[in-house]
Amino acid sequence: MFNGIGITIAQMLCSTALAIIISLIFGLMRLSSNRLILGIATVYIEFFRGTSLLIQLYWIYYVLPLLINISLEAFYAGFIALGLNFGAYGAEIVRGSIQAVPRQQWEAAKSLNMSPILLMRRIIIPQTFPHLLPPFSNLLVELLKATALVSLISVTDLFFMSKVFNQTYWMSLQVFGTALIIYYILARFFLTPFLRWLEILAARKVGKLIG
């Protein structure tokens, strides 16, 4: 079972990393004035938000090998599906928090002759964090719990191991009760305090004091 916790945490970390990258890329693409780029991002986000995560997981693990002969190990298929799916939600958060930075900040940066890349990197993106982190924290807590789905494609995570234990010892209450508590502890005592700390740090960066 401890092994399972490790796999759950690894799934969480890998899918979070992927989700962050996807969020940034597609969130910025959603703000593009180029119709093609905007269109690609919109289709991507609509597809991954509009269809079931469980079915996406099955597609990546079972259908892709048949269609285009790409076969992924269960562990990779698991976090890739999670990352792609949660990245679609994250992209909308990124778009929203970039749009929440006042237009005057763009103008001030342009008046200092900054290039669009410098403007984004040094002026706009750092100011998105206070807007971005609260909804992103929510998303990551969701993500942690969603990792349980990867057990269905035979990733030996916490939930998978719980089921194995249950089949061996027939102690549903104890086994699934323990699993429930472990997920709660991970979310409540590790993930949430970490994200809260990031929020305070980000707020301090823009000169606000919270919490």
């Binding site: 005057q104 040094r122 823009v206 000169g207």
Partner: protein, 265 residues
């Protein structure tokens, strides 16, 4: 030879038949305006007369609909392509825009940076100055605007007047040839307007900077300007030295506007 003469007398900034529309609303209507080097020009007029738009177009924050804006005789908003002028691309705009600096009504300091960082960010990353060189320049300017003791504060800890003085230093750190001041005291409490005006006065008298200023401070405009332009409905209704505009306006609109503004004070 002739060519050389021409360049010499070229105004620093020239608006040539510049038109700007927002939908069906014409904000600037075939504007012609020349600004000479070292000249201090004030723009006054009722709201909606296109004053701020003049500055925003020159800063390239707004697209131009018709006409051309020149800086030192070179087109800013346009570039030459096969012998004709086409709308400028980002690269062309950026190559010329560094000559222009702007100070905004709402200061628009970067809230995630300290006062000093606000003033060195662009000099380092846009002009390519070495960090200590940029810092030296920033410290000089912050000293001039009287904000050196606050250099490590974030903007949210400063008063409006202090933020505006930092914004002036930040714009000056790019060594622009022309400074645009867009109602820089309109968002300030009355008791701090003086500190910002005295910085501008100093720039004008000691640094001989070319400035284009939109203002509602008639007394100040009269005191510091070389020339005052009264805007009405997207056009310059009247322009001239402050003594003429304020003491003997010829245009009916100018008279009405000035008597309304001066009576209100």
């Amino acid at each position: 030879m002739d060519n050389k003469e021409n360049i010499k007398h070229e105004p620093l900034v020239r608006f040539h038949e510049v038109t700007k529309r927002y939908g069906s609303l014409t904000v600037l209507d075939k504007l012609n305006l020349d600004i000479q080097a070292n000249e201090m020009v004030s723009i006054i007029g009722p709201s909606g007369s296109g004053k701020t738009t003049v500055l925003r177009m020159l800063m390239t924050l707004e697209m131009i609909d018709e006409g051309v804006i020149y800086l030192e005789g070179k087109p800013l908003t346009h570039m030459e392509s096969n012998g004709s002028l086409v709308l400028a691309d980002e690269k062309h705009i950026r190559s010329i825009r560094s000559n222009i600096g702007m100070v905004f009504q709402q200061f628009n300091l970067f809230p995630h940076m300290t006062v000093l960082q606000n003033c060195v960010e662009a000099p380092i990353n846009v002009l390519g100055l070495k960090p200590d060189e940029a810092e030296e320049r920033a410290i000089d300017l912050l000293g001039m605007v009287g904000m050196l003791d606050k250099k490590d504060e974030h903007p949210s800890r400063l008063s409006g007047g202090q933020q505006q003085r930092v914004a002036i230093a930040r714009a000056l750190a790019m060594r622009p040839k022309v400074m645009l001041l867009d109602e820089v005291t309109s968002a300030l409490d009355p008791e701090v307007i003086g500190e910002v005006l005295s910085v501008i006065r100093k720039l004008n008298s000691e640094h001989n900077l070319t400035m284009l200023m939109v203002t509602h401070q008639m007394g100040f405009a009269r005191e510091v300007s070389d020339r005052v332009c009264f805007f009405y409905e997207g056009k310059i209704a009247e322009q001239g030295p402050p003594s003429q505009i304020f003491e003997a306006p010829k245009n009916e609109r100018t008279k009405q506007f000035l008597s309304a503004v001066l009576n209100a004070n």
